[in-house]
């Protein structure tokens, strides 16, 4: 199948495609639009249904090749549009996930504060063993990042 040059889809088009994927259960690319001969349904779960009009089989090889190239370009444009949105949403999700991870670590430390203040008069030893390390945990994790990274890479190399 010959590669087709496709312009980078605009974000607005990507949003529209994603909306149709989610709400209408898929997007159908039809070629040519005025007298459909090839249609491809693209679904959110990655599945595709390619429908070919029986009348197309009687057309000349050149006409079929031209339609095929145009159709592939159309399908690729839709896929690239949805892919761009996946990347944008993915980055947003990652940002939120990273913030949530650090928030969880900080929350672990902060959650120890009320308990520590309640027990301050009666159990200084408990404060020393529970509250202080909890507060220090995020800072410790931050400081140990290079060592953790090194360990992770070593582990990954060991597995592979």
């Amino acid at each position: 199948m010959p590669p087709a040059a496709v312009a980078r889809p605009a974000l607005r088009d990507s949003l529209r495609l994603a909306w149709r994927l989610a709400v209408e259960g898929g997007i159908t690319v039809v070629t040519p639009a005025e007298a459909p001969a090839i249609a491809t349904l693209l679904q959110a779960d990655g599945d595709m249904v390619v429908t070919v009009s029986r009348s197309l089989l009687a057309a000349s090889p050149d006409a079929r090749s031209g339609l095929l190239a145009a159709h592939v370009a159309g399908v690729r444009a839709v896929l690239d549009g949805s892919a761009r949105l996946v990347r944008i949403l993915g980055r947003l999700g990652t940002l939120l996930a990273a913030l949530r991870l650090w928030g969880t670590l900080a929350g672990l430390g902060l959650s120890a504060l009320p308990a520590a203040s309640a027990l301050r008069g009666n159990a200084p030893a408990l404060i020393a063993t529970w509250s202080l390390p909890s507060l220090l945990l995020p800072a410790l994790a931050w400081l140990l990042r290079p060592a953790l990274r090194f360990a992770l890479i070593r582990a990954a190399r060991g597995w592979t």
């Binding site: 259960g25 595709m48 009009s53 089989l57 980055r91 990042r145």
Partner: protein, 317 residues
């Protein structure tokens, strides 16, 4: 919306994400393509139902006992097994006795119009199963050429059987979401569900017959002002769309790729002059699908790198 059907959106997304682990590309040939857009889900269910029934009805008519037993299987809690037993025996070609202690025996006559509710898909599931079993039994004694011709019918019956089962679940959820509850209480005549649905669309308030209604009832419900807002979960929409798009067209080429590395490629018989072009078209679609698949996983890898990078200073993977 009841809690038991209102799955969280995360679960819906998980369903779609898990189906991303398998990629399926089907190529079908169609007469007279018009490029029609899929109608709204309630009407799409009616169209699927009509297409399936037009295929099965000339071969095996749907009768009231089968439909009522299908209703009983969906509605009855403790009695579902007995209705199922009746349907199993009927599909096996027997003439089972009607469980008269559960409900009065319905007259043995063909059913008229069906609703787009779960009971219709349940009944079609059993019809397709019965037809498939009869065809298999007949083909065992048939000559080889007749057996080969029957393979296409077997494939279509299997599709009706399997799709009806999935659409039954979808129709049940959609009816609970958008229509008034119409499942009869235990011990109540299950015909209430299929044959005696309340024709007054305004009697129970809301949008009672978008799902589980006849074509006219659904049309009336869709035409009301203000128009009903159909916020349907993506996984259900994908399921309905796939069944609507494929219909009962013969699948000529099918490729199924799984993340585990399994590849399944099926080819139906086709003339030599068509094979090269259809194969090229199919291969192109598979290539695009795989490219898209690779891109999704590359994006996931990049995102994982970003997460680890945010934790450990820079991308560790």
């Amino acid at each position: 919306m009841p809690d038991d059907v209102a799955l969280r959106w995360e679960q819906r997304l998980q369903t779609i994400a898990s189906s991303l682990l398998t990629l399926e590309v089907n190529t079908i040939l169609k007469d007279g393509m018009i490029g029609q857009k899929m109608p709204e889900a309630p009407m799409a269910l009616h169209q699927i139902l009509q297409e399936y029934r037009e295929y099965t009805e000339p071969r095996l008519a749907l009768t009231e006992p089968v439909l009522v037993a299908a209703c009983g299987r969906l509605a009855g809690q403790g009695d579902a097994a007995r209705y199922r037993g009746y349907l199993e025996a009927w599909a096996a070609g027997d003439r089972p006795a009607w469980p008269a202690d559960l409900a009065p025996a319905p007259p043995d006559r063909p059913v008229g119009e069906l609703t787009n509710g779960a009971e219709s898909f349940e009944a079609l599931h059993w019809i397709a199963l019965a037809l498939r079993r009869r065809m298999l039994a007949a083909s065992a004694e048939a000559p080889p050429e007749a057996r080969a011709a029957g393979q296409r019918h077997l494939a279509l019956l299997t599709r009706i059987e399997e799709n009806s089962r999935q659409l039954r679940g979808a129709a049940m959820m959609l009816e609970r979401m958008f229509s008034a509850p119409s499942s009869p209480a235990q011990g109540e005549d299950p015909r209430l569900l299929a044959l005696m649905r309340d024709p007054d669309v305004t009697a129970t308030g809301g949008m009672p017959r978008l799902f589980g209604g006849t074509l006219d009832q659904t049309f009336a419900a869709l035409s009301r002002h203000p128009r009903p807002v159909l916020a349907i979960d993506p996984d259900l929409t994908v399921l309905i769309r796939k069944a609507w798009e494929l219909g009962l067209e013969e699948v000529l080429l099918q490729t199924t790729l799984s993340i585990g590395g399994d590849v399944l490629f099926r080819v139906a018989e086709m003339p030599d002059g068509q094979r090269a072009f259809l194969a090229e078209l199919h291969r192109g679609a598979v290539d695009e699908g795989v490219r898209q698949w690779s891109m999704v996983f590359a994006t996931l890898r990049d995102l994982l790198g970003l997460v680890t990078g945010s934790l450990f200073g820079r991308a560790a993977i």
